[in-house]
Every structure is written in C-alpha cells, then in structure tokens.
Symmetry: none
Subunit: 417 residues, 2 copies
C-alpha cells in the first residue's frame, strides 16, 4: 500500500503558513498503518494540480489531498477535479442539508455561494462534514484512490479520523507501524551514534533508527512496519531498553513527553514543589513549566532577575560578589538558588545566569557561558556550560539542561530514601 | 526563475515533526524574489532521492534541499548525491577546521564520525557552516542548481540567509516580490475582512491580500510580484497606509516586527523600563520580552506568582482580597502591577492573572477569563478578557494583549508630553 499527500495553497509556497495539515495527517495515518511515501505542496493552479494527480496515479494507491476546497478557494481545485476525473458537479442533498443546518445554528440563512458549495462531483463518494460545510470526496482514477479533504485543520482531521480512515483501513491495511523515541541529553548526536554503532548493527533488519537533535533532547527514534504487531511491539521495546542500558548517563526517557512534562510528573507524583530564579533565560523555564496543565500543583513561581539590581534587591546577592565574580558565576547562581528556596519556600529551586548574547561577553566568558544551579536547602549543585553563540538556542539549551539537572537530583534524592 | 524545495526525512512522513524548515525557507526566499513552485517531502531512501533530483532537472532552475545531511544521516543523501552527480567525496580542509573549532569550543575532540563529516563532493561549491558542522553544498546538473542544506533549522536558515541567498539573488532574480504585513489586534478576522471589503475591491489587480490570524496579531498581508520595483513598493505602501486609516483602533504596526520587538523599541527609544508580574502567563511575557537581543536595556525582571502565597508574600496582595475577589480579579492585578512598580522600580509594569485552564474555572469565571493591568505609578489601567478554552492559546493571547495595552498607554503618555 503506497500513499501520498498533496497539500494545496499559495500560502504554503510563499511561507505564509507552515503545512501542519500534512504533519497531522501523517501522524494519524502512520498510527493506523498507512505508509506515506511523499508529501507535495502545490500552488492554487489548475494545470499544476491536474499534472500532479496524473503523476500520482503512476505510483500511489491512495492520495490524500487537502486545501483548495472551501468558500473562497473552490474554483481552482474544482476545475482540476472536473478535468482530471472527467466529471460534472451536482447538488448533493446531504451536503445541502448540512450547510443549512450549519448556518441555522449560527443564525444565518443560505445565499447563492452557500448553495454552490453543496455541489459535488457525480463520480464521488461523499463524506458529510459534521463540524463544517465542505465535505470530503472520494474519487478513483485507474487504480488510484483520491481523497479530497477541506483545508480547515480541525474539520480535516475529524473527517479523516472518524469517517475516512475507518473505511480505508478495512480495505487497505495489513501492516502495522510503531515508533518509539528514546530521549537523551548531554551527548552530541555524533557521539551518541558512535556509542550505539555496534548495537545498531545487531538490530532486526526491518527496524529503522534515526537521530533527531534539538535543544531539548537528542532523540533516538526506532521505528518499523510489520504485519505481526506483537513481534513489532516486542522488538521495539527491547531495542529501547537496550539503548537505556548502553547510555545510562545520558538517558532521559522513552516516549513523547517533553522535558517539562517529565519533570512535572516527578514533582507531582512525589508531592514536591519547585521555583525558578532566572537571569539569561528570562522566564523561559517558568513559562515551559507552566505550559503543562496542572503545573500549579508543583510550581509556585519565579523571580526573573534580569538586572543585577534585582538580583541584589530580591534575591539577596551581594553587590560585592557580583562585582568580584561577575553576574555569570557559580557564586551568583548558587546564591540565587539558595535565596529562592527561602523566599518561595519550595522543596527545590533552579537558578540560571548566563550570557545569552549577542552582547555582554568578555574574553573569559564568551557568549553562551552559562552557570546553572539546582538544589534543595541542604544541597545545591552547580554546573557551567558553554552553549554556543545563538541567543535563542542558548536560552532553550540552558532551560532544558537546568530541568534535566533537577530531574537527576530529584531521582538521586528519591533513591536514597 | 523556477525554484523548488525538497525536504528529506522519514520523521516528516510518519508525522513525528512538522516540516517547518520548508516554511521558513519559503518565507525567506519569497521575500527575496524567489518563486517556489513546489515543496516535496521524501523519506531517507537513496533511490527515491535520485528520482526526485532527476525529476527536478526537468523544470527547476534551483532546487533547495534540506535534511539528510548531518553526523548520522549522511549515508542515504550522500549515496544519492554520489550517484546523481557522479561525484566522489574528499576531505575539505575548510570544513574539517570548522568541525575542529566547533568541537573545541565545546570541549570535545574529533572522532571518526566527525572526520567523515568533513568530506564534501569534489564537484560542489562549499558553504562553511559558521554555527554548526554540516556545510551547505552547491551542485549543478544540466541547467539545474542544487543547494543542499543541513536539517538543523537555525543552521539551515543562517546558511541560507547569510551565505546562499546573497549569491543566488545576484544571479537569478529579475522579478521582485514584496509583501507587507499590517498588524492588527482586537478585531476578529471575519470582521476585519468585512471592514476592508470595499477597499480590497479597489486594489491594483496584481496585488494579493491574505488574512493571517494568530494569538499575537491578525495580520493583513499584501503582496505582489512585479518587475518595476518602484511601482510595486509604492502601491504596497499606499495600500498599507490605507488600511492604517481604515482601522485606527485596531492598527498596531506595519512590518515584520513581533509585539515584543515593537514594545521593546518604544521602551528603548524613550529610555523607559518595564517589569512584569505574571500569574497565568507563568513567565511567558518575560520570556517573550527577553527573547529580543538588548532587552536588558529596558527590562528589569519579573515576579512569576503562580501560587496565591507568592502573590501575598512577594507582591503584597492581601489574602482577604484574594479570598473575597478571587485571584483572577481587577483588584488583584491592579495590586500586582502597583507592587511591582515599587519592588522593581521600573517606569511601567504589566500584571496578568487569569484562568488558563483546563482546571480552575467557576460558573462566574470560565476558562479563559483573564484580568490584565498595565501602568505607571500615577495611573494603572485594567481590562478583562475572555480568551477561549485552549490553555496554550489563552496564555499567548493574554501576553500579547498585555503588551499591546502597555504599548498604547506609553504612546498616549508620550503624546501628552
């Protein structure tokens, strides 16, 4: 089974919006055993679309098309469908009733443009859109199935999930797809792959390994397609566990949870609280932690001390220490973490001070120099990092390193109990 | 000039990550006059890539390829490049030195995998990656130019912007593309388009208008391709000014600056300082403000008071007020803004308290209820918003509304002087 996706819209090609439709489609389709071999984004041009449809019939069993359907965009895609499938369009009573219903719910009545929207190709199987107006259309040409979906994301995904995938799955899917992420931190991609080289050679042939670096994690992704779902699950779980054992110092987690979710879970499960004192990260750590619903259970707050004056006034860092050691120093982050524990009365605290750049560096402290402290009243640990020269990346790396340091400390503390 | 983009990576086709690389490339390339006619995402398979490269030579003058280059991904793309361009690979001393330098900055030494990374195709023009290790490569086949870029986003974009586009632009661009965003806040897309309907009908035919809603702004984007750059610039500037006059209450700015940059500029130019007191936004406002390089000139810091205890202890909000009015109330945000002005000694302050959801709502205060205060010592203004039910969107909307309220207040204050 060979599937492709075509997304239509000028807005994709001038960089006005990112193509998150194809991303969500791929995710849902993969989870259901469909293998996507190609995604193509094309402009609103009839000829271009007809050529792309023609091209797709050579290889694909199913083509999912999104965008180009809807009140203001119909013309181009409609013309392409008419030509390529050699079909006329007529009112679908099902779609017409749905549009009426939709408008009535919102206190509007039908106009001509709404009426036109109810037209569908005579050759199409129609999927009524339960939460919008533009329907899904299923057309065939030669041996290829074309599924046209509206471009509005939540309508498209709902149609796909609830109405289209169940029908297609029955007919086309024999294989299963599973992927698992093993999340690591503190080891660059090249070193990680070096460490996993021998292991990777012994993996079952049908499993793929990919390395996905980001400021948060270097992820090792293991994935595979297989008829036998039990074997597939077992092989992937075994592989994930093997990685965990090969890189104990760098291993963070298995799965799709973010660093702030992982940290949040540990804090929440153990009834622990945390606060942050942030200089160069400027509130980013607090913002990440509070992006998790329910974080008020374990997060009390933060002092963003961007100026030295605030470090002194609120966090009690003596001006002499700042003068002699610098605001980016072990002494200062240690002091920030310590003051915060008392001020915010939390079990743990995180403190960060660094030179995010582009300004503020010295020969001894280049851009990217960052001191992090994490701790509790009896124990504060500190570490210095050199995070590179890009402000945005620096801030993110500092935040995720700080959260990981705290995660490790808490685990260590829990193990001692 | 006909350009295409190919993005490589299994992770794109199984829906693990969204293809934001092509989005950023399109944006930057469009702004520089390149017209992208197709984006294709393909798996890590050599044969597939070779076929795609071959296909591209039929139509494209330039093909931008991203992904598939980097320490652990090299093999597939390298094999495809070797076959398609019939080229061998050898160590580039420039790349090797850059890798050494990069590793040394981070306290690592070279390994075999790093050494291999320094190999480049003999036929390629090489662009050294100033902030990572994988270089950019420029290869030609028949009349088509292939530009290979690393997949790590910030490295890719920097190479493109600083090293590649300047060279290509000189050689290929005759037509000009200009787009201008008119940024509005406080008016939904549908109402905005209604207000601009008559204006839009009188626009020159070759200009396009698009509406781009986000939590920050509803942007009206006017764009067009034209040989005559002076006419193009004039027509677009005229159109932008017309919009500004049509919606004075909602107009924020013209251009690509973010809300935090716009606010930062006003503060910076007038030697003013600001601090934030954040509850539901959890440090997001501080984080946005400090994402701007140089923000330490006008931003002193923030108190993230996620728990009521901290609102009382640090920001002096009486427990009785919190009990009688609720933490999400006019009285509380007014108090937070006021305390902060004294505590952080800034000219202005921002305070936000809201119910981000999914928990914490009451019948009187549904999820999305948010109080914002902005002010200076003599004047604090407050406003209540209902921001909807999605946590992530709530937090963003609250932050951008708060920054816009402050922007308006400062402008008002400056006009009175």
């Amino acid at each position: 089974m060979n599937a492709e996706i075509i997304t239509i819209g000028d807005e994709l090609l001038i960089g006005q919006i990112a193509d998150t439709n194809s991303y969500l489609m791929c995710r849902h389709l993969s989870e259901n055993g469909f293998k996507i071999n190609k995604i193509t984004s094309l402009p609103d041009e009839s000829d271009t679309l007809v050529n792309a449809f023609q091209e797709a019939t050579k290889k694909a069993d199913i083509v999912f098309i999104t965008g180009g359907l809807g009140p203001t965009k119909d013309d181009v895609t409609r013309a392409a469908i008419s030509r390529f499938f050699n079909t006329t369009w007529n009112i679908s009573m099902g779609v017409l009733n749905r549009i009426k219903e939709f408008l009535e719910e919102r206190g509007y009545s039908m106009n001509d443009s709404n009426h036109d929207q109810a037209k569908v190709p005579d050759k199409a199987k129609v999927f009524i859109n339960q939460i919008g107006t533009a329907p899904g259309l299923w057309l065939q040409k030669e041996n290829t199935n074309f599924i046209f979906l509206p471009g509005v994301q939540f309508e498209m995904i709902r149609l796909l999930k609830k109405q289209i995938v169940p029908v297609l799955k029955e007919r086309f899917i024999t294989n299963n797809f599973i992927s698992k992420n093993i999340n690591t931190q503190g080891i660059p991609e090249a070193y990680l792959s070096e460490k996993l080289k021998n292991w990777q050679e012994k993996l079952p042939d049908y499993l793929q390994v990919a390395y996905l670096p980001s400021p948060e994690f270097v992820k090792v992704r293991i994935s595979g397609w297989q008829k036998d779902q039990i074997k597939l699950t077992k092989d992937i779980e075994k592989a994930a566990e093997e990685i965990r054992e090969l890189i104990p110092g760098y291993f963070v987690s298995i799965g799709n949870e973010s660093m702030e979710e992982i940290l949040g879970n540990i804090l929440s499960e153990n009834n622990l609280t945390v606060s942050t004192a942030e200089s160069c990260t400027g509130g980013f750590i607090a913002s990440e932690i509070t992006s998790v619903p329910g974080s008020s259970r374990y997060f009390k707050g933060s002092v963003v001390a961007y100026s030295n004056e605030i470090k002194t006034k609120i966090l009690n860092i003596s001006p002499e220490i700042i003068k002699s050691k610098g605001a980016v120093s072990e002494e200062v982050v240690r002091g920030m973490a310590n003051s915060l524990l008392h001020l915010y009365n939390t079990d743990y605290s995180i403190a960060v001070s660094g030179i995010a750049g582009p300004d503020g560096s010295t020969p001894q402290k280049p851009v990217g120099t960052t001191w992090i402290a994490v701790g509790r009243k009896e124990k504060i640990i500190t570490e210095k990092f050199l995070l590179g020269t890009i402000r945005e990346v620096n801030i993110k790396k500092a935040a995720y390193k700080a959260m990981n340091m705290l995660r490790k400390l808490i685990i260590e503390d829990l193990e001692k109990k």
